[in-house]
Symmetry: none
């Protein structure tokens, strides 16, 4: 069988598992968790079997032997498929299926632990997940420390050392920006008018906004979950989720703009290449650049609200009682807060730096799972000057580790850097800048389609940023953006 | 590998396909249909491969050789797994894939033909489907006539001769009952008060009713689809669907009671045997007995509404303008109508008898496909005293044949007979009768759990009815029920 046919069969299996995973988050009855874990374990094992099979190995070697380098996308696909084959064959089927099973149960335990703010409910599951992550890292190998191998899962080509170096540089500057943003906000008293903001109205506004950004609802949906996400169940089936706060419509709206940013990237990948690296998002750091670009650079801009504030007032009449300038203060309000997903743009990355340090410690073995709550609280205090009231507002707040997603968090901050750098480059096109001014996002989306989405995974993240912006990935655009917006 | 392990693996694959199928009916974005078809084709092929594999064959023979008959459920599982293996392996892959191809095209042609009320659009497809059904019957073998083998697909152990004999006896009696029910209704003028009956209120009432019947929402859900159904995605994951008519809340309510009847059966099967015949519903005729029992014997009874009419009035204040006795007339209204799925209890089976005769004739070759519309209209006139206005309201109304489901229809009437016979037997328990009188369905459900659900597929349908009721399956209880309710 042809390598591409095998890769497409693999994508059929993996995308079937995505359907079961999406259903698990949105609609699964609680008593069904165990069977769902078994179904997912079977599908994951089958996908793994196929991608580590002799047939795959032969097809890959055959394709490499006959590659005449005349088609760069084809060569890029072979390189990436070889990298994945290497990583996949290092993991025995037993480990892969054990991980699927453990993490499916861990997700439910995490939800219960978070609900009860009881870390002991989650701790034994996290213990297993950390051990599995270490085992995977050891089997994959790494240049420097086991965490490298985990980071590489989400961000092709990134190393712990380079990311940690970048974060060390960012830390003092981000703390300065956060201080100045928080200080500015503390001297403003604007508040969002009191709710309720009916959920049905929020859904209507969110859908209208997502549609205006270019999200295609014939090839996607928005549903409700405890923790918002975006997942792709097929080349024309992109599912976003959000959650609602009846006292604050901006929470679900910015959530939807964020997830729609992910969704636009997925909808912009070449359909015909579904299942091949050239038809897939290249990395989470690039993925997150898309969500952050739409959420923060567009969604928190003056120009966006010139168009959407009057429409929001039609949905929520109480908004007419706040001045437009005060509303802008509200949506850019900065304060030091406990919850990452509720954190504002100016303080967000400090939450990431915290998690990156802790998960790196867990994998290194410097930090024991049972010590996590205390370590979290101590470091949180060092960064933010306050201590979480309980573990629900501390180390139990995020779903990532419960899914085995150790190594993931860094990509959020990489995404913020990439977003700013890409947005700066896109705005060099007058059509893009004019469009944004008029609430017409088609030119911006077209630029992203051409320079990011259509490329799929044919370039490494670093190359892609260089190709799209003309410069090596760096923090200049992001720090300039934050300084202008929050310390201007 | 152990036979039971193989059967459970097969169930994991099949139940994963059910998840994708459920999502397809409820939430799938329109542009995603092709990819979903590819995902389902892959899962179906894997399930078929496994259940016809050499490993399966060896495991089956090994289990049979060592079966010492000391465990009747185990022996019953082996018999049924052997029967399925025989049926699965008698069909060459070429035939299975030809059928999938033909029926996929036929479904589209049927939808177009129905829309245009033009039988000639569907006829060539039905021609092919009948030929394939004949070929399958010939390969499977049959005692008497090819239709036996098709019936056996849906109703283990049933023969055409026995069903036809039963239907011949029923026909004149059902015509009498229908005449007298329709005559009675024509002399009553009661009408349901005008809508709207808000969908949200319908959902609340339906959920309260389903819960009171015993449906477990920690192991199931109710969602919305164009065509109501019940599907099982796992041993503790039973999904019902319904559709809403804002002018008539009883339409979704009886729909939910019907589907909840299916769902209660599925939730009552032994979890630990999921994937084995002993953990599965035995046949469609027994499945339908459960839905009909709750929908008609409970849902259309006086006692049910003693409890639920006041609650329904709280949900829909306009109901206070109809007298209780008139409301009962409304929900038991009978009239001769063209469409099976809209038919009332007193006329429903005549629609089935018609279809059974015609599909049997098609398979025998007595009836040519091109003569179907004329034969339908002629027989319909003989049974109902009226002629369909067009083929859309006649032989093109049902989807079943277009999916290759020839032999399916009889199970609806078998279900009605079984429902009445089981309900009569259950009511011999004073606790059951008292419970029903007080709106407490726990004793009835407990009786069904013990005498039907817990048995899974360990007994053939005929044995199961004999075991549960003490008598051979017969029409007495059903005719007595209809006579009492409609000709009293």
């Amino acid at each position: 069988m042809n390598l591409y046919d095998l890769a497409r069969e693999h994508a059929l299996i993996a995308s079937s598992a995505e359907v079961l995973g999406w259903d698990q988050e949105t609609f699964l009855p609680e008593a069904a968790a165990t069977h769902r874990a078994n179904q997912l374990a079977w599908l994951t094992a089958k996908a793994h079997e196929l991608s580590t099979s002799d047939a795959w190995k032969r097809a890959l070697s055959g394709a490499e032997a006959s590659d005449d380098r005349s088609n760069p996308a084809y060569s890029a696909n072979l390189r990436e498929l070889r990298r994945r084959f290497h990583r996949a064959t290092k993991l025995p089927v037993e480990l892969v299926s054990r991980e699927a099973h453990v993490s499916s149960l861990a997700k439910h335990a995490w939800a219960a632990a978070r609900e009860a703010s009881d870390f002991t409910v989650f701790a034994p599951h996290l213990e297993k997940l950390v051990a599995i992550a270490r085992e995977k890292a050891d089997r994959w190998g790494y240049p420097d420390e086991p965490f490298d191998a985990l980071l590489e899962t989400y961000e092709r080509g990134a190393t712990t050392r380079s990311v940690a170096g970048l974060f060390d540089t960012l830390r003092p500057k981000l703390r300065e920006i956060a201080d100045c943003a928080v200080d500015h906000s503390s001297r403003r008293s604007a508040r969002l008018p009191a709710g309720p903001y009916p959920i049905e109205q929020q859904q209507k506004l969110n859908e209208a906004v997502a549609r205006s950004l270019g999200f295609d609802f014939t090839a996607g949906r928005i549903d409700t979950t405890a923790h918002p996400f975006c997942t792709t169940l097929g080349p024309r089936d992109v599912r976003l989720t959000t959650r609602y706060d009846e006292n604050d419509f901006t929470s679900s709206l910015f959530g939807v703009m964020h997830e729609a940013g992910h969704g636009l990237y997925e909808q912009g990948l070449p359909d015909a290449d579904f299942g091949l690296p050239s038809g897939e998002a290249v990395s989470l750091g690039i993925h997150e650049s898309q969500s952050r670009l739409w959420e923060n650079h567009i969604g928190r801009s003056d120009a966006f609200w010139w168009k959407w504030f009057p429409i929001a007032c039609d949905h929520f009449p109480q908004l007419r009682s706040i001045r437009f300038e005060d509303f802008l203060e509200v949506i850019r309000r900065s304060e030091k807060s406990l919850i990452r997903v509720e954190a504002d743009e100016a303080t967000y990355d400090l939450h990431i730096l915290l998690r990156f340090d802790l998960e790196r410690g867990l994998i290194r073995g410097d930090l024991k799972v049972n010590d996590l709550p205390a370590a979290w609280n101590e470091r949180f205090h060092a960064l933010f000057g306050m201590t979480p009231v309980d573990n629900r507002h501390g180390c139990l707040q995020d779903i990532h580790w419960s899914m085995g997603g150790i190594g993931y968090f860094a990509t959020y901050t990489l995404g913020n850097l990439n977003a700013a750098q890409l947005f700066e480059a896109a705005k060099r096109q007058p059509a893009v800048t004019n469009g944004i001014g008029n609430g017409d996002y088609a030119p911006l989306l077209a630029w992203l389609r051409k320079n990011v989405h259509a490329l799929g995974g044919t370039l490494d993240p670093t190359e892609l940023i260089r190709h799209a912006t003309g410069t090596t990935p760096n923090a200049d655009a992001y720090l300039a953006h934050l300084n202008t917006r929050y310390c201007g």
